[in-house]
């Protein structure tokens, strides 16, 4: 487990840490305003993504529901909904296993916000959509295959 990374994630919102990163050139100045997790969004494989997020080896869970079409005619716009029934859901990540940039989005929930979200993603080809959930400090996931008729990542 990458403890340093976990610590960074936890304190990532702190301006001091961000300022430090900017000073040593770890993140570009235009990124400095956000706590945007470049390492996670640059991950090219599922393993890299898990490592960057500090997710370790997430456990498959039936308490997460992912809704997406079985067949997406247009990979440029694939609607996806994730609902977590896990207590203390802190984060929901949407991962697209076959995309060059695997991590599509990360959502952070506060007390009072329902642990569910709907958005639209791009899928380059047929593959698994994965919902990764951080709840009470632990990571869980569920995956669903979406068949893509026409890829939506350009090129």
């Amino acid at each position: 487990m990458d403890k340093q990374k976990r610590k960074t994630l936890k304190t990532g919102g702190g301006l001091g840490i961000l300022g430090l990163f900017t000073a040593v050139g770890l993140i570009k100045p235009e990124m400095a305003m956000a706590a945007w997790d470049k390492k996670a969004f640059d991950a090219k494989t599922l393993e890299e993504a898990y490592a960057a997020l500090g997710a370790g080896a997430p456990v498959a869970s039936k308490e997460i529901a992912i809704t997406a079409p079985d067949i997406a005619e247009n990979g440029a716009v694939v609607p996806v909904s994730v609902v977590s029934r896990l207590a203390k859901t802190e984060k929901i990540y949407i991962l697209i296993e076959k995309n060059p940039s695997m991590v599509a989005a990360a959502f952070s929930f506060v007390e009072g916000t329902e642990p569910e979200v709907t958005t639209r993603v791009k899928m380059g080809q047929t593959g698994n959509l994965q919902a990764l959930v951080k709840a009470d400090g632990k990571y869980y996931f569920v995956a669903k295959e979406v068949k893509v008729t026409m890829g939506g990542c350009g090129g």
């Binding site: 716009v77 060059p100 940039s101 991590v103 929930f109 639209r120 791009k122 990542c153 350009g154």
Partner: protein, 103 residues
């Protein structure tokens, strides 16, 4: 300057549902233009939604989020007339904040 977002929020049975449609190209950096040149990545990286000034949802986007990003979520509380403010920031440092009212 980017086009305004569309924000719809409705309160029902003590829960407010917020739907946001942002206007953004969300270029992946992998697409080529007609001349064969790579179009640089240009995408929203961070989104924050606030209800009466209190943050209710934060999101980070990568390049795999579809063009003109759509986002919907729900939070407990909220009454008709309350303000919902949504802000985004993109990888070029451009940003935009729009406000909606709970119906």
């Amino acid at each position: 300057m980017a086009d305004p977002m569309k924000i719809r929020a409705t309160a029902k049975d003590g829960v407010t549902e917020v739907k946001v449609l942002m206007s953004h190209e969300m270029e992946t950096g992998a697409r080529k233009d007609a001349a064969g040149a790579l179009v640089p990545a240009w995408f929203i990286t961070e989104v924050t939604a606030q209800h009466n000034g209190k943050t209710v949802l934060q999101a980070e986007f990568g390049t795999s989020v579809a063009k003109n990003p759509y986002l919907s979520f729900k939070f407990k509380g909220g009454t008709k007339g309350d303000k919902i403010a949504v802000s985004w920031l993109d990888n070029k440092g451009d940003k935009r904040t729009d406000e909606g009212t709970i119906a």
